[in-house]
Amino acid sequence: MPSANITRSEAYLATRVAFLARQLIDDDAIEAMIDRPLAQIPRLEGFAPLLEPPMKGQARSRAIENALIGTLLAELTIVLRAVGGEIRDFFQFWARRFELFNLKTLIRGKLHGLDPRAIKDNLYDLPPYTRMPLAALLQAESIGELLKMLEPSPYGDIARQARLAFEARHEALYLDATIDRLYFGGLVKRAERLEERHREPLRRLVRGLVDQQNLVWLLRYRFAYALGPAETYFILIPQGLRLDRERLQQLCSLPDFEAVIEDLPPTLRGALGTAGTAVQVERALETLLRHEARDRLRYSVSAPARAFAYLLLREIDLKRLQVLIQGQALGLAPDLVREALGVAERDAEPLPQRRAS
């Protein structure tokens, strides 16, 4: 039994994760929620008031997102309390992505000349331990000044390079891509620093996540935005699991969507099935990531790896719940919600082999 190998200091984390994992929602459970009003679904009844007036439009979406992100961060805090040293550093860095969401919102807001109050309304409420000085950043008069203010912070590296990228090309797309590339690069670096027992399963998950990001970006930027191979490659993250740098270079050089799909490694190719658009590819890769994360959650000997797998799965679950709640808020037909959730196609989903780590 793998848990016998878990050291005593990890036992608490493993226990907490085991209890938390009982909240995960499988496809049958989500399927059963689609046709029922929120007030009748025990774990979603708290969201029912958000569907009533005066909540509407963007304010309602933001309130739903804030509530779901709040749930995720509360659970991340539980994990953070149970770990120390470099593992804590890894999870803290993972938490920073929520701050980067806020940073991107700030940048877009400044780019469109919104006033600070309007931008603030669109920011996520994050716990006090996060370290981005949002109040000061809101007062910045330009994106350059905003990024300069971040340079002495833990986001210094990201801010410095993002500023250079923005000064060279005043486009949010490149700024977003630079921020994401540096962020995921940092996350991979932190996973690589961990001791062997945690490193192997965590790097597989993180690099799997990078693969998902890379392939979707590649298809979108190369073929939807028609960027050149070199430019597309540069905004990708050369630290994927199945898509390493040589493979990425090769894929970037291919002329069309179908050629890229055909040239993928067998596992990815198999997972994509009949996906013919970037959105379908994204959904298929998310399904693959879910299978792999479930695998780690059940069989990994590393408690931090289990915790990370849980957080990934929980985030996917919460995104699905968001789709479900928004679907009800907008009065969408159940079939449409089912399609958006991807539960209609699950019979066709591939089931990768179990792999213990």
């Binding site: 590296d157 390079q161 060279a168 490149y174 630079t178 050149g228 070199a230 430019e231 490659y233 540069f234």
Partner: protein, 634 residues
């Protein structure tokens, strides 16, 4: 002294046009803390002064940046209060906006000069490396029909990734100097391959093109000479810019002082924020005022407002307690100890204010752990001497020194000498067991007091069940009493008394049952949490009690350190003996003084505050005129 001042919730109705004057008077009185909670009255749906706030924030932002850029320190005085109007802020906005445009341009120019200076330095440094390329550098700059060449800087982190990326466009990248953050690179490829796509990648990668100056084709000595001349010119330009900045700082000082005065007087209205609501001509303002000051505030407003107003005050409702700010009326002598309490947090409204208990127990424990007449006197004198430098903290140091000296008399210890004076009570090393017993009794008394305060706080919060069954409630006191009785019986007779044991177990079971009702979690997690919490309760009581043994241990430690110093001194001749004694005493004074302070604070925070002091109260922060030296009321 023992709890925050009673507060009143105040509602004021007045004409909207009086709001700026009203908020200014409130800030001058310093008695009113705005209540920003949403309001139920639909008639007062709007928050007034939206534009006023926007202007204020923009002006403040500009002023702060200008002051920082000009390196000014502003400290304007204020003789007359005058309410600031929106039009006044508009005018200020224009003035500060213009000044900031000027300052921003100068800052950019300064930055460009600094950047150029850095480039000259780098060029100087890279001259040798360019020479090491062993090619005609001029050719890198020349237009070529077939080759596209770029020379420049790339962030180190992007180097490998960029090499791979431009490889896809048929380009090669050669780094020729690796700096800490950047690499100097030459990028070469066929002219037809890039088609403009290369520059997109280079821009995204943060590539900064380096123009190779024609001088680099010259003799190295002459190149260096030219660079030195450029450096001198740059230094001259920088100096000129700095002089201009200093001159502009003096020229604009009065304007900026006046702006700060205006913004400070506008700030109270901004800070009212959603505490003020308007229905047009009439406004409603809500906030908190210490009960004993309501009359003074009302009189102040009546005297200074132009039009009548209506004021109503009521006691805080039970459900409002977490929102009520805590205003302390700490006696002067206790204020330095408040600093230590604030490090932990603010008491909730109605909660026990622990400064007095902290002051007494901290001073006593410091003395018990560091009892020495000589060292105590030195610490007390040091407190007096440091008075101008450490502010009110001097009193803590002085009292700790006095306590140390007083316990020195009890222990009969003077600078480590145990025989100079007769101990009034006992020399610690003569009966260590008695010392440990006394420390244990002190600890029990301390913990019981902390537990009683916790019960009081829960009752004040209106949570009688928590006061009875919570981790530091009445049941915990019973458990603690049962535990102590059982331990005493076991140690004195070798058996555990049935009554003590039964009381302890029953109290523990009652606390577990309370948690069963309180915890909202799935069954498995609930059981796990209760088992852990119950175990934690038992261990916490035992470890906290034993924790106080350190009070005796450090008393003994002081004697042991003194013996070590004397043993070393006795190994020396006469001069060495006295030098060792003096240095040894200094060592004891500094090292032990620091350790004992930390240990006493640890006992206060972990064994005391953590039991009864939530520290998550809201501090009473009345509207004030921040940053202005008020000379005379208007």
């Amino acid at each position: 002294m023992f709890k925050p001042l009673p507060m009143k919730h105040v509602e004021l109705r007045l004409l909207s046009e009086e709001l700026p004057r009203f908020s200014l008077i409130l800030a001058d009185l310093g008695l009113f803390s705005p209540d920003q909670r949403p309001i139920d009255e639909p008639a007062f749906g709007q928050v007034p002064g939206q534009r006023f706030r926007e202007l204020y924030h923009r002006d403040r932002n500009h002023l702060d940046k200008i002051v920082q850029q000009l390196g000014l320190r502003l400290a304007p005085g204020l003789e007359h209060l005058h309410p600031v109007s929106e039009a006044e802020l508009e005018g200020l906005d224009r003035e500060l906006g213009q000044l900031w445009t000027e300052c921003a341009a100068r800052e950019e120019h300064l930055q460009a000069l600094t950047e150029e200076q850095r480039m000259v330095d780098q060029l100087d440094e890279t001259l040798d490396d360019f020479a090491a390329l062993n090619i005609d550098l001029g050719r890198l700059q020349q237009e070529s029909a077939f080759l596209d060449t770029h020379v420049g800087l790339v962030p180190r982190g992007n180097l490998e990734h960029l090499r791979d990326a431009i490889g896809l466009a048929g380009f090669l990248l050669f780094p020729f100097q690796l700096g800490e953050t950047h690499a100097h690179v030459v990028i070469i490829g066929p002219r037809s391959a890039g088609e403009g796509k290369l520059s997109a990648v280079l821009d995204t990668a943060g590539f900064q093109a380096l123009s190779i100056p024609p001088e680099l084709r010259d003799e190295p000595d002459r190149i260096r000479q030219r660079l030195a001349e450029r450096r001198v010119a740059l230094r001259r330009d920088l100096e000129r810019e700095r002089t201009t900045t200093a001159r502009r700082a003096e020229e604009t000082r009065d304007l900026l002082q006046s702006a700060l005065r205006t913004l400070t007087q506008a700030e109270p209205y901004v800070r009212l924020d959603s505490a003020a609501r308007t229905s047009g001509f009439l406004s409603l303002i809500r906030g908190w005022v210490p009960a004993r000051e309501v009359g003074r505030m009302e009189r102040g407003l009546r005297r200074r407002l132009l039009y009548p107003f209506q004021l109503s005050a009521r006691d805080p409702r039970p459900e409002e307690r977490p929102e009520v700010p805590s205003a302390m009326a700490t006696p002067r002598a206790l204020r330095p100890f408040c600093l230590f309490v604030r490090q932990y947090g603010i008491p909730r409204y109605g909660e026990f204010e622990p400064s007095s208990v902290f002051a007494v127990t901290f001073v006593l424990m410091f003395g018990m752990m560091f009892g020495d007449v000589g060292h105590g006197a030195v610490i007390a004198l040091a407190g007096l001497a440091l008075r101008p430098k450490v502010g009110t903290l001097w009193l803590c140091i002085f009292l700790a020194g006095l306590s140390s000296a007083a316990f020195g008399f009890l222990y009969g210890s003077v600078f480590g000498y145990e025989t100079l004076i007769h101990p009034i009570w006992i020399s610690p090393l003569s009966d260590p067991v008695l010392m440990l017993k006394v420390a244990l009794v002190w600890g029990v008394a301390f913990l019981v007091l902390a537990n009683l305060i916790s019960v009081h706080n829960r009752l004040v919060e209106g949570r009688p069940a928590a006061a009875l069954f919570d981790a530091n409630g009445v049941m915990n006191l019973l458990f603690f009493a049962g535990l102590l009785a059982s331990a005493y019986d076991w140690l004195s007779t070798g058996r555990i008394d049935a009554v003590g044991g039964t009381v302890a177990l029953a109290a523990l079971a009652a606390m577990a049952a309370y948690q069963w009702v309180e915890i909202r979690a799935p069954l498995g997690e609930k059981i796990l949490m209760i088992v852990i919490e119950t175990f934690e309760t038992v261990m916490h009581n035992i470890s906290s009690t034993l924790s106080f043994l350190r009070v005796a241990a450090f008393g003994l430690n002081h004697v042991a350190l003194a013996i070590a110093v004397f043993t070393l001194a006795d190994m020396m001749d006469t001069t060495g003996h006295w030098i060792t004694l003096v240095l040894g005493n200094l060592f004891v004074l500094v090292l032990e003084g620091a350790i004992v302070t930390i240990q006493a604070l640890r006992l206060e925070y972990y064994e005391g505050f953590s039991r009864y002091f939530s520290g998550d109260g809201r501090e009473f922060q009345p509207l004030r005129l921040n940053g202005l030296a008020r000379r005379r009321n208007a």
